[in-house]
Symmetry: C2
Subunit: 192 residues, 2 copies
């Protein structure tokens, strides 16, 4: 399974567009991050949501995290003002970082390894220097699990595993359980 086979469309934002707009898009669509491109649609940056949050943290707090604790609530509440009118270019580091990107023919493991190493929930997939698509962590996991299911189902057909070993707790059987059984150990804790 190659990167270009599982990547997806993903909204991109221009480096000279409003940072407020980018933050709003991320918030409204619950995106795992944003992909920033130049005017000629070259990939410029891939920002995890946690780093977009950086836009609303005053620089003196970034330099000294302990200051966050002594900021008055009213000051904290006005933090989004920092974004007003600023473009992404103004807020991103001057020195361009290499965005997390893989080649179209890289394997799912190469994508996973980069994702994990860079702690990036999304990876750009490049083909001949152009952005082909994006792979998110949830997409990657979904495809890895789906692939496993297919493989197991195929194995079951060939070896008769399904009928011969009905009581073994295999991955394959787990995946066949109805969702409510599968999630028996997941629950919600209340929020205020």
């Amino acid at each position: 399974m190659q990167a270009a086979e599982i990547d997806e469309q993903f909204p991109v934002v221009d480096i000279d567009s409003s940072a407020l707009e980018a933050a709003r898009m991320l918030a409204e669509d619950s995106l795992p991050g944003i992909v920033v491109v130049t005017a000629d649609r070259q990939l410029y940056a891939v920002l995890p949501a946690s780093q977009v949050v950086r836009f609303i943290v005053p620089s003196y707090v970034q330099d000294d995290p302990l200051l966050a604790g002594v900021l008055a609530e009213s000051m904290a509440d006005g933090a989004a003002e920092k974004l007003g009118g600023k473009t992404l270019r103004e807020l991103l580091p001057q020195r361009q970082l290499t965005p997390p990107a893989v080649n179209a023919d890289d394997t799912i493991i190469e994508v996973a390894a980069m994702m994990e190493r860079l702690r990036s929930p999304l990876i750009a997939v490049m083909q001949q220097g152009r952005l082909h698509g994006v792979i998110t962590a949830s997409r990657l996991l979904a495809m890895a699990l789906k692939c496993r299911l297919t493989e197991q189902a195929w194995t079951a057909v060939v070896t008769g595993l399904k009928t011969e070993r009905p009581s073994s707790l295999s991955t394959w059987q787990f995946l066949e359980q109805p969702p409510d059984q599968r999630r028996s150990t997941a629950w919600h804790l209340g929020a205020g």
Copy 2:
């Protein structure tokens, strides 16, 4: 605005539950990460999606990322097999790390600063030693922007800004634009 005012319910998984189940939940619901608790519902870990992906990366690739490139595709495709039957406890580091968490009365800026510093797309909110809720990066940005809107609207009422300075491109006006205008600089690039 305090952490406990903006946190939300979030699915939690037991440390002794199946890692496959946790990965599947993340994939199906496109969650930014998972919250792991002990049998007595104490917070154990907060894992960003990018670190859940780690579960399907063989340890020898984690140790030497270059190996990812030489793994045959068929080997890469079988990676999810690694999860079969394993619990989260077996896959998480033996040494318990301090989960990214804030106190219920911490401000939005303290949450943002921690999120950015730890590159974590979700932060647990604790009240008297118990998990009160979770704040995701998109939730934080949404609340920061909403808060700003309220503040701006209030200012507009008081100062007559809205009618007196209709042509100035303020944050407040930006927020009043219809969504299709707001997103004029965002578009999609095709995926294969």
